[in-house]
């Protein structure tokens, strides 16, 4: 079942208010915390699945953000602003695709590609456009005035910041359950809510 950022926050807030009705925690704080927690879970699962040789990020976690304006930098290169922070994964897995809607996707290259491959045949990417992340931007190589699109689409893992709080998002239920528990426990400490008693028949 699709949920939304505000639904997740509300679920946590309702649990917290069972203990402290005067809780002055804002849904927006919980949304930020949920985003951080989900990022950790996704990253951990990515590495956990490495041992099973099926290292991947579930497709349901990728969202495509449309029509991000291509801008020109002071150094005459082209870039788009990264619309949202995302999960940091090896090899840029967190970004599935950058490209125009109908054309081919651009080629992911490493930061520093332009210097490393300068004057080499491979630097032209056989006429394709490359992209890499730098700071708050995704910068393009081999993009010139003549082949520059006005806007590009970008598919990335859970771009929370770019989603409206009511937008439907699809997060696997087990992952959501884990995230909600973690965020609840973070704020339970802040509010002085006693932790759950754990019945441990081995130690007892």
């Amino acid at each position: 079942m699709a949920t939304s950022k505000v639904k997740i926050a509300e679920e946590i807030l309702r649990r917290l208010r069972k203990y402290s009705i005067d809780s002055d925690i804002d849904e927006r704080e919980l949304m930020i915390s949920t985003h951080e927690t989900l990022s950790t879970i996704i990253r951990n699962r990515y590495f956990e699945t490495k041992g099973m040789e099926c290292q991947e990020v579930s497709g349901v976690l990728y969202y495509t953000l449309l029509d991000r304006e291509v801008k020109k930098s002071d150094s005459d290169t082209y870039y788009i602003d990264i619309p949202s922070t995302t999960v940091e994964l090896p090899f840029g897995v967190e970004i599935k695709r950058v490209g125009t809607r109908k054309g081919m996707g651009f080629v992911p290259v490493q930061l520093g590609f332009n210097d490393l491959y300068a004057n080499l045949e491979s630097s032209t990417l056989e006429g394709q456009i490359g992209y890499y992340k730098q700071g708050n931007a995704i910068e393009f190589s081999n993009m010139t005035y003549s082949n520059k699109p006005d806007a590009v689409d970008i598919s990335m893992v859970l771009p929370f910041d770019a989603l409206d709080e009511d937008d439907a998002i699809n997060i696997p239920q087990d992952m959501l359950d884990q995230a909600i528990d973690i965020v609840f426990n973070k704020y339970a400490k802040t509010l002085g809510i006693p932790p759950d008693e754990i019945a441990n028949s081995i130690d007892n």
């Binding site: 002055d24 804002d26 849904e27 927006r28 704080e29 930020i32 009511d166």
Partner: protein, 241 residues
């Protein structure tokens, strides 16, 4: 509502006073009014029962269904229009959006306003914050007030609503002051006789009759120096008679 004459007769019965000058109607009215306010205050919250670090009284407004039922007769919900982010607090003089005078405010319950998104109108609560939080909230990059998540701050005669330029109409729900009871009378053969036309009944549910009467009897017991009466009334009150 509790009939004031019935209430008076019961109080006089327990106090064993027959109305021959030991307690004037004026004294009785005063005791009845104070007893009513004391009872209402106890239902709202009794700060004397607070413990350090645990500001919780034995009962309080909306603690459970019983406490909700006890005070629902005092609940007022009024639509209030205003400008400049200043929602006036009802004082028995100012009027609501329908031009009706709003009874005097006692205790806050909630403030709602309408928020529209994608053509859908949603009623949203306005969060009441404390003075010490105000600066941090107004200046916050995370929890600053927005039309969807507005905040309110109580001042002496008004509630400051932020963002002030976006909200000009709210619905306030509050607990009003109870109406002061009056045992009205006319003098017949030099004796006061109950007058229904000038009387005002006790602004409380019938279920609270005994409790208010015991509080009134404590006041009356002190007034007429009847220590036994005070003790007995306190005993009854503590037992929840």
């Amino acid at each position: 509502m509790i009939n004031i004459d019935k209430f008076k007769r019961f109080v006089y019965f327990v106090a064993n006073k027959n109305g021959r000058g030991t307690l004037t109607p004026s004294d009785f009215n005063s005791a009845a009014e104070r007893a009513l306010f004391a009872w209402t205050q106890n239902q709202l919250s009794n700060q004397e029962q607070y413990q350090p670090g645990n500001p919780v009284s034995q009962t309080s407004l909306e603690l459970d269904q019983a406490s909700i039922d006890k005070l629902r007769h005092l609940k007022e919900t009024r639509s209030i229009g205003f400008t400049g982010g200043r929602m006036p607090i009802p004082n028995g003089v100012i009027t609501d959006l329908n031009g009706e005078v709003m009874p005097d405010y006692w205790r806050y319950s909630k403030i709602m306003h309408k928020y529209s998104k994608n053509g859908q109108v949603i009623r949203r609560p306005i969060e009441i914050i404390k003075e010490m939080e105000y600066g941090n909230r107004m200046d916050s990059s995370i929890v600053a007030p927005t039309k969807k998540r507005a905040i309110g701050l109580f001042h002496d005669t008004y509630v400051e609503i932020q963002p002030e330029s976006l909200i000009t109409l709210v619905t306030l729900t509050y607990i009003r002051n109870p109406i002061a009871p009056v045992w009205g009378y006319t003098i017949v053969n030099n004796r006061p006789v109950y007058d229904d036309a000038t009387s005002v009944d006790l602004d409380a549910p019938n279920s609270a009759f005994n409790q208010i009467a015991m509080i009134a009897l404590e006041f009356i017991g002190v007034h007429i120096r009847e220590q036994e009466l005070v003790q007995s009334a306190m005993g009854f009150e503590n037992k929840g008679v």
